[in-house]
Structures are given as C-alpha cells and as structure tokens.
Amino acid sequence: MSKKNRMSGNEAVANAIRQIDPDVIAAFPITPSTEIPQYISKFKADGLISTEFVTVESEHSAMSACIGASASGVRAMTATSSAGMALMYELLYVAASDRLPIVMAAVNRTLSGPININTEHSDSMGARDSGWIQIYSENAQEAYDNMLMAHRIAEHPDVMLPVMICQDGFITSHAIENILLEDDEAAAAFAGGYDPPHHLLDPESSVAVGPYSVSPYVMEMKVAQANAMIRARKVILDVAADFEKTFGRGYGLFEEYRMEGAELALLIMSSAAGTAKVAVDRLREKGVKAGLVKLRVFRPFPAAELAAALKGVRALAVMDRSEGFSANGGPLGAEVRMALYGKADGIKTINIVFGLGGRDARVEDFEALYGELAGLAGKPAADIPYFKHMGQRE
C-alpha cells in the first residue's frame, strides 16, 4: 500500500534504490547528487541493503566499475551530476554499446564553466547521443516512480540499454515535498530480478566483452543498438502501464496538461513544468486556450507522438534548460522542430533557452511567455526568430 511521506528528491531516489537493493553501486561525490551515495552508505551501515558499495576515486571509475559489474550479470547503479557525468561520457557510450542495463540517478546541474552548482540540463543533454535512455522527472514523486521503473525498462530483452533517471538539482533533489512511497516488498517485487543469459561470471561458458571491431562490423552493431532504442519506446509504455496497474500512477512518453483545444502551448521538461502548469491554470481561468506538454522521455525521442499531440496548436514555445551554442537555440528545440517538420507544419514555433545556472523561472514569467505566444500566433513564420533567451538581464 502506498504510504504518504515527505522527502527530498535525493532521498526519494535513495529509497527507491534501497527497495530495489541493487548488487553493486559505484559512485563519487558531486553536488547535488552527493546525498544519494550518502544515503546508500547509511543504508549499508544499518544493514538495510546488501549492495556492494564501491567508493571509487572518480566518476570515470564509477561508470567503469558499473560496466564491469553489469557485464558480470548483476544490477549496477550510480548517481552523478554535471562535471561528474561529463567525466563519464566516454564510458556512457561504452555501456550503451556493450548493451549493459546500468541505471543512473542523474541530478541535473550546470556543466562548467563558469562553475555553478544549480540546475540546468547541459550535463545530460551533452550525453544525449550516448545511447542511454533518458527519463526526466518533474518532482520527487516522479523521480521515485521513474527509478522503480528503470531496471524493468533497461533489462527488457527487447532493450538492454542503460537508463538515466534525471531530476533537477536542488529544486527537486533538495526540496522536501509530499510523496507516496510504496511498501518495500511491493516496490522490490515490481523491480523484480535480473539474470542475463551471458555474463563474465558464468562458470559454464566464458564471455568476452568490449571487442575491437573492424569497419565491417561497426555499422551493423550500431544499427542493432539503434533498433533497441526504437523498441524501447513500447517497453517504456508497457512498464508504465504495469506501474499504473500496480501503484495507480500513470506515465506516458510525455504528459499533456490541459491540451484540450489548446492554441498556445509550451513544451517543457522537469521541475519548471510544474511552475508552468500553474501559469496554464491561471490563463485557462481567464479564458486563454493555453496548454502544456511535459516531455518525460527524451531518449528515445517520441517524435511522431509529439507531432500528433501538437498538431492543433497555433503557437508553441519549446523550452530548453541548456544552451546548445548552435546559434539557433538548444537541443530540445532542434529535436522538436525535427519532429514537427512535414508532420505538423504551420505551428508558429520558437525555442526558448531559460533557467541556465539555476536562474529561477516564475509563474509570472510563463504567463508573460504565453502572452508573447498569442502575438506570435498571428505573425508570419518568417518574422519569428528561431530562438531567444528568457530571464537574463540586458
């Protein structure tokens, strides 16, 4: 049975990990994800988990140890943020290409420089092409729920890919909020176990992992990996359906918030989506046809589904919490335009880069943005810039 509780996003994720009781965790401290390995250490000290906790000397080694453990046929997890994730980048690609279902608790933080500890999505967006499934959470509840689903997705035979469960640094990771925690037994039963057919510690048959591959094999290996990512879409939805049946909370690839008849829409991720929803409520009360799409699954990217969901919208703002330095906005903006092009043409679209380095976005900021969207809806597309920044001083 679900129990009401209140805790931070980090504590919520740590509790999901405690309930899953993975075989190996390798982690290194970095703000704001540090609390997760701290909780793990305490859980272990109190005998609440059986996990082998490897206190590595860097995030690079954390991911390396996770790969070694996962290739040995056990569940391996880590937690990191920002520069820590960047230090892992090389190994993120290796984990995915080795098809190892490692799970990472990612706590989004600005990637230096300048060095800053507050939230931004530049860390995980930098890893967007690494072959990891990426699921983003609006609040502690979603971070907890997504973590309980992560292994089922990663380890599904149709998938076998690593998963990162992202939440916003501090805003979600350090804020106390209400949450429903599931019983330990029910959570553990949902997460299930893992027993892959081939691994390093199989006494019946040796296995070699991490080959040198000549060109005649690489293209085929990557096509196989790409197809696993394509298949992940259905698996994510299936696992979510089972989660809803078991615990009553439903999830899709994205959430449509008051999109019935919406003419002005925001496409947004993570904690800022909650703030923007309050703006939508206020505007709807005033009769403005505002709606919002909160993207939950960024990898695999639900292009066709988004095009279908946004089809009736007149004006759209795609909210990137990271700068792509492409001179045309951020990565989410580029991918959403890709999704819409030729499938849902005619939507007046602008990419907004906001919230960098933890820059706060208020309800009023989003209300004003919907006001701007109303203006864009009547403009010729040629007069609308590809992107702009929001919230900076001029």
Binding site: V24, V54, H60, S61, S72, G73, A76, E90, S206, A208
Partner: protein
Amino acid sequence: MAYNAYSLKEIANRPERLSPGHRMCAGCGSTVAVRAVMRALRPEDKAVVTVATSCLEVSTMTYPYTSWEDSYIHTAFENAAATASGVVAAYNAKKKKGKLGENYKFITFGGDGGTYDIGFQSLSGAMERGTDMVYVCYDNEAYMNTGIQRSSSTPLYADTTTSAIGSVSDGKPQYKKDLTAIMAAHRIPYVAQTTFIGNFKDLHHKAETAIYTEGPAFLNVMAPCPRGWRYAEADLMDICKAAVETCVWPLFEVVDGEWTLNYEPKNKLPVTEYLKLQGRFKHLFAPGNEALVGRIQDDIDRRWEELKVRAGAV
C-alpha cells in the same frame, strides 16, 4: 619470500589460457608475459581478465574472436583497474548471495601507457580500496599501440616518435618513473618487478604469489617490444637478460612492506651492454655522446644502490 618448488615441465602441462590466433606482432613480449602470468593460475580456478586499451586489447579480442580462455572485458584505456573493481564487486555480491560456487581470480593487464600514465588514477584507487585483484603492467616503455610515443615509463634519452632525436635533441629528456616503488607506497600486500629470465621461475613465482595473495597485488613485467625498441625479434631473451644483468631492471618484490632483492648480479655489467642491443639508443653511441651514457649509468647506479638499501642487501 622463498620461492615455491617450481618445475617448468609440470607447469607446462597446464592448459594454455591464451589461445593463438591473436593479432600481436611476431616476437611480441606482451603475450609472453600474459602466458606466464596466466600459467600461474591453478587449472581448477577461473578468472576474469580485464585489459586496458593497448596492443594486447585490440589484438586478443578482435570481433568475432577472443584469444582468452577465461572471461574477458575491455572498456577503455584509463580505467582497467576500475572496471575490474566492478567485476570484483559483482563477484562478491554473487558470492554473498550464494549465487556462485566457483572461485574466480581477477587479473588485469595494462601497458605502461595505460598504467604509468592515463590509467594511474584508476589503478591507485583500486589498490587503495583493497580490491582483491592482480594488476599486471606489461612495461614496454612507450605507447606502442599508437606508434611508439614516449610515456612516463620511457627511459632517459630513448628515441621515440614524440621524443625524437635531432640536432638539438638527445631523445627523451626525462627519467623513467619508478612505478613499482609508487605501488609499494600504497602499502598493498604484494608488489613485484620481474621479466623473462631462463625458465621463467621468477615470473612464475611472482605471478602465483600475486594471484594467491588476498587483497590487491601489483606486478611490473618488463616486456620488450621489438618494433619500438628496434631489435631483431628473436633477441627477446637477450634483451631481458641484459636488463637484469646491468641492473636496469632489477628483480625484486615487496611483501607487506618488506623489500627483497631476488637477484643480484655477481658481476654487474655496464649499461652499454643493454643499450647497444637496441636501436632506440643507437644515437648514444655516436662520438661525443659519452656524457649522455654516463648520465644513464649514474642514474642506474643510484637507483640500484637505493634498492639495495631498501632490501637490506648492503
């Protein structure tokens, strides 16, 4: 530490754990090192081998082939020890939960680039954490896989493709890093330095001790590279012998902090007897370069005397 009884004839009956058909160069020293280390595993024990990016890695698991009889994993260049840490953690988890009956040993191989340089942090971390594994550095004193670039293991004045000799350069201007001593400073249970001598008794003893010592162990094995050192492939054993007889590469071990010299030449040869065998030092024999050889000799002598003091041999 006293050597265990050793019989090459008996040991040679053990099943070969590195299969042929790998793509290493003819005459390569590194697979000689690998075979010798793996031979020290008792046939009834299983192993998981980790290899850092290197010649050994690209040549022994070239898809869809593996040369390893045991399970094997490669992930990257700088992280072989960390990768092995994860395997060991998984093994401990399985053992604790009663999911695995068999005994496994964990052996990691890295070249000097992957060990002295880019993989040093990961190695230091795994050793400090007390990981029950053996890390074997096969030291051929340069980045051979990428084409003979200098590493921190490359000796003074060696000619490499990034310490080129020329009208104003005598080769690598820096001394070789003393990694074995650095690993001993980690206060791990077992550290040893060895190479290929005679019937391989020294290497076998050290590999066996490393594998069957509980906790972390480090072996530094000089493994000459005929291409990078520029000598005829067939001369492998002559090079190793000269390295030991000139005290360029002393054989020693450090057991629980106690240093032991395993071999002391009765007649220590001048370093030129080692240098003259290799093209990478050829420029040192040009007229006018006697002082350079003198500096090398001084360095070797100083290190040898230090080692003897540490090992209580004076």
